[in-house]
């Protein structure tokens, strides 16, 4: 998951400590919110020294990101149901389903605004994968002729994730199954092939 020390002399990194720290970070986050998260708090809760955290992670956000990536091992599978609308629908449904993580995700997005170094890590280690999955789904649909060849796939991806993130960040409207269905339909419709003439 991160830097792998070459096996040499010296005490090897403790996986138990790593796990304890990730667990503590998520627990603190859940209990007190992202804003109240501190390295000291995580260390205290994990029974670890602050130095141990600084040794392996550049910032508290990177700890949380690792925790997120660890638990998201049960990844959102990319559906393949034969039609774009159905695939999108399934994809969004699966995405919404793992939404106990709103606090984690919005916290990381906030952090990534405030800290360019973390923004890069967040983009590369989390966002890029999700975007790639959705783009792959659209590309397959394009190959099947369900998407206009001239369509701006990147824009379509951003429309989907943009809407998701916007609702998640602002919290003014629900992110439920019905919303997913409508959004899927909207995107599938916008992407449909245009028959010239």
């Amino acid at each position: 998951m991160e830097q792998q020390r070459r096996a040499g002399p010296g005490r090897p990194r403790s996986q138990a400590v790593r796990a304890a720290i990730l667990r503590a970070a998520l627990a603190e986050l859940e209990e007190r919110g992202y804003a109240a998260l501190t390295v000291e708090g995580i260390a205290a809760r994990a029974g670890a020294g602050k130095q141990t955290i600084y040794r392996w992670w550049p910032s508290k956000a990177d700890v949380v990101l690792d925790a997120l990536l660890d638990t998201a091992a049960e990844r959102v599978p990319v559906p393949d149901e034969g039609s774009l609308a159905a695939d999108l629908d399934a994809f969004l449904a699966a995405t919404f389903r793992q939404e106990g993580q709103r606090a984690v995700l919005t916290g990381l997005m906030a952090q990534s605004v405030l800290d360019p170094a973390f923004a890069q890590a967040f983009g590369e280690r989390f966002l890029a994968g999700r975007r790639a999955a959705l783009r792959g789904l659209l590309e397959r649909a394009r190959a099947r002729g369900e998407v206009d060849p001239g369509a701006d796939l990147d824009l379509l991806v951003d429309v989907v994730y943009g809407t998701l993130w916007y609702r998640m960040l602002v919290g003014h409207a629900p992110l439920d199954a019905e919303t997913g269905r409508r959004l899927a339909a909207l995107v599938a419709d916008a992407a449909r092939p245009r028959h010239p003439g």
Copy 2:
């Protein structure tokens, strides 16, 4: 813009100081970034006491929000050009044009994630107005028959602002005139009336 003290005894609030603080906040933000913004820094730059800031604003984010609302007095006008696509295009173009404010806006969004009290202020005093303007535009188009009567206008609004915010926050893709045109076309198309049968 905010709390209006009744004229009673006592020295009245100094508008000059208020303006100096807002100016200082924007200057600090531009020079050093949102993450490095501090109440102390704003006060020092404005030649004001910290207490004066705390007396009138609950947090530094509220200072920045006031600064934003003051300068955004030259509001994005809601265009009315006769067609939905043209209106959307003009609206998005106007929205993008005032993009010296990316740092301000993303900073405030980040803060609004971290501070629920500010989230409410941000939602009510900034986001709601923008959403209402766009919704009005869509409602007029619906009255003209350019939007399907059953369309989920709130979702359409979120698709537009979601895409904008997502690109603004993540910064992976441009927010230029061409992007605006494509997004306008996409939304206008998705909203078009469906003729049953």
Copy 3:
């Protein structure tokens, strides 16, 4: 008691306000101690503006000093009972009797250490008078032949007030009638005439 504005045009100084401020100062002092005394607190309690206090007194200590001098109008009378020991005894007894003022007096002494300007006021307006009274008592005794002509009267005065203040400040030993009697005897004895040869 302090500066007297010439009667001219304009609203005259309110004696009621002056009294309210002195009363408030003593009340605050008694309730919360000298250390917690603040100009703001006195003003608030007196229903006065801070400016009103600063207009008439250079510091909070001067307010307290005025309050002390006002209440000490029932001054310690200088006894004249015919013998030095008896006079001293009566003088000390009277001095001790007005010891509800320990907090006031020690507070002012502390302040006078910390603030040279107040030290002068305290010395001239309070300490000097007390010292003069005691010195007068000793001088009368010397005239009666009860005090050695070569005695250092200033030192004798300091021995008396020094012992008093020391016990008052440190609070390690009582300041009661018995102590007064012993101190009176000690000083009278030390001052007694020496018969050369």
Copy 4:
């Protein structure tokens, strides 16, 4: 001198920092006076963090007290010259000699009036020792028959220190060798045995 942390895990307290803080406190006190002494100023001058001061001392006065006790390691020796008057004379001379410390001592006394917690520390860690030394001197004189068996030794101690402190605090009269000699004589005379009959 103060709390001795058990040698456990963790970085041990830095004696160099402790010394720098005490030195800085005395330097600030000398340059700017006790009233202008601030924790912030001491920390800045010592190149230390404020937290480091608050970690080890409850108030700035305790810092100064530690500084005083450290430098006063070369304690006033208790003289033993064979006669009470000579002993007292030597004791007072030695006491006066270390009077670069008037600012320190009066500042601490003022603080001890304003802060009961510090008053206890001051009493136990400084005043008590001095009083005990002088009392010991008087007790030895009593054993030699130079002091009346019924004399109130505590009062005699207070007469000596009271006079000293009073002159030091009020500053109206000198504290020189001649004064010391007269005070020594006065006390020795007052303490002399009374032959009944």
